[in-house]
């Protein structure tokens, strides 16, 4: 029975004189290596040149603010529930009077932590979020010396009030169109 079309018959003929002389094969090999001398190199000179990420790349998360600068997250816990790696934990709290400019709705997350060592960057939290509060950006988590440093709290997750240029890809509409295009 033939399983694959790529099967090759093994030929066990003794070597001819030319094959035993090695030299033609050696010169053939040298021609192959010299061709590689002129090929385009795959190396990227990293700090100066950075690899271009896919438009739908999933990197470090960001907790978004609304157009008034208030945090969108209402600590509903759907992201934590959807997370297959169980990387997200949060503590909900009630908004006090006078904090309307900080939190959009009456409930907010006083603690919101993602363990980047557990996270598999699947993006299910982004899909689960009913408030469009969490998004995955195109930046990668930095290296750290301790495990604790990989648990990102709100200080590192909440979107800064001044939007850095680097995270431009994270903005919702652009991302969605790019995602649709890639599909």
């Amino acid at each position: 029975m033939q399983i694959t079309s790529r099967a090759k018959r093994v030929d066990k003929k003794p070597f001819t004189f030319l094959e035993r002389a090695y030299l033609p094969a050696i010169f053939g090999g040298m021609v192959i290596t010299i061709k590689h001398l002129f090929k385009k190199k795959v190396t990227i000179r990293y700090p100066e040149v950075q690899r271009e990420f896919s438009p739908v790349y999933r990197g470090v998360h960001m907790l978004k603010r609304d157009e008034n600068g208030a945090e969108r997250c209402t600590a509903c816990g759907l992201c934590a529930l959807s997370c297959p790696a169980e990387a997200i934990t949060m503590t909900a709290d009630e908004r006090k009077p006078g904090e309307e400019n900080l939190y959009r709705e009456e409930k907010y997350a006083s603690v919101y932590e993602i363990n980047m060592l557990r996270c598999i960057f699947c993006g299910l939290c982004e899909e689960a979020c009913p408030k469009e509060a969490i998004f995955l950006t195109d930046s990668i988590p930095t290296a750290n010396f301790t495990r604790d440093d990989f648990t990102y709290g709100k200080d590192r997750l909440v979107e800064p009030l001044v939007r850095p240029v680097k995270h431009i890809n994270a903005f919702e509409e652009e991302r969605r169109t790019a995602w649709n295009k890639a599909r």
């Binding site: 030299l23 050696i26 090999g29 040298m30 192959i32 290596t33 010299i34 590689h36 001398l37 090929k39 385009k40 190199k41 795959v42 190396t43 000179r45």
Partner: protein, 342 residues
């Protein structure tokens, strides 16, 4: 006056040849790494200075600042003698190589060769044989079984291939009727190069040169898999650097020797058209160095193409193939010379 002049220009020449061979060996390490990168679709070292040109300085500096370890159980005198001898013999061979046609300066004829001894080829072989001692003494003095096995392997390889190397050269010597390297080069005037008369001899010689310099595909003495590091397992710091560096100097010198004996040295086609003697000398030196660089390139090209031989294959190739082939080559050359003289 003429004695002082003689001593003066010989000193300058010796210093220049020594400095240039060290410089070339230094930059051969960079070239090797760059070429290895290019042949594997990488870039190679490019961080130290533009295109990584300071990389050899960095490597040398690093080796100098590494801790120098001399094992307690080693024979200290021989332990230090080993790398010194390797370096010494590597630097000495270049004395008989003619780097270019004679220069005419200040009414004197200045040959661009340190010593035109009438047994130049024998001198080269003698010094190259001494090179085995550097490896052997280093491996033995380390008092380490891996070093010793590596040294035994290296020296048996070098001794076996020296035979075929000498025999392949005998055919050339039969044609040139001289052992002086300068005379051999002068006989290859223009494009009358020995390689066209001795292609088989050249092939045997270049294979043996790979084996003599312990380079791939014959780099068995350094075998991480079964010998830890080979004969220099116990060496550190600049003593290790000397061993590694001697390999590159050997590569340069054997490239120069091959270019001189088989590829016409400083001779190039249409060299008679150039009337000015000094211009011819400068062009000759340039041509000679171009040939040397080509051979250094071939050394590296082969290293990054071929896998290494197994030890029994190495010995079989040396004793059962190369030596009989070079004997046949001698017989063929003898027959051709006899027919020509009939």
């Amino acid at each position: 006056m003429s004695t002082i002049f003689f001593l003066g220009y010989k000193t300058i020449l010796v210093t220049m040849v020594w400095g240039i061979s060290l410089l070339i060996a230094m930059y051969a390490t960079l070239m090797e790494r760059k070429l290895a990168g290019f042949l594997q679709d990488r870039l190679g070292p490019d961080r130290a200075g533009p295109f990584g040109i300071f990389q050899p300085l960095m490597d040398g500096g690093k080796l100098f600042f590494k801790e120098e370890i001399i094992p307690n159980d080693s024979n200290k005198f021989l332990f230090i003698l080993g790398p010194s001898l390797a370096m010494f013999t590597a630097c000495m061979t270049s004395a008989v190589i003619p780097w270019g046609p004679d220069l005419n300066l200040f009414g004197h004829t200045i040959p661009l060769q340190i010593a035109d001894i009438n047994i130049g080829v024998l001198f080269v072989f003698g010094v190259v044989s001494l090179g085995v001692y550097g490896v052997m003494i280093g491996g033995w003095a380390s008092n380490n079984k891996y070093s010793l096995l590596g040294a035994v392997r290296a020296s048996s390889q070098m001794i076996s291939y020296e035979l075929a190397m000498g025999l392949s050269l005998i055919a050339v010597l039969m044609m040139s009727q001289s052992l002086s390297v300068k005379e051999i080069v002068q006989q290859q005037h223009g494009i009358n190069w020995n390689v066209f008369y001795q292609p088989l001899g050249f092939l045997i010689f270049i294979i043996c040169a790979f084996a003599e310099t312990n380079r791939a595909p014959f780099d068995l003495p350094e075998c991480e898999a079964e010998l830890v590091g080979g004969y220099h397992t116990e060496y550190s710091s600049m003593k290790l650097g000397f061993y590694l560096f001697a390999e590159y100097i050997n590569m340069f010198v054997s490239s120069a020797f091959m270019a001189a004996v088989f590829f016409g040295g400083y001779n190039f086609p249409f060299m008679d058209k150039i009337a000015n003697g000094n211009l011819l000398a400068i062009l000759g030196v340039a041509v000679f160095f171009a040939k040397i660089f080509f051979f250094i390139f071939v050394f590296m090209w082969v290293r990054w193409t071929l896998p290494r031989f197994r030890y029994d294959q190495l010995m079989k190739l040396g004793w059962q193939i190369l030596i009989p082939l070079s004997v046949i080559n001698i017989l063929l050359t003898g027959g051709a010379i006899m027919l020509k003289n009939l």
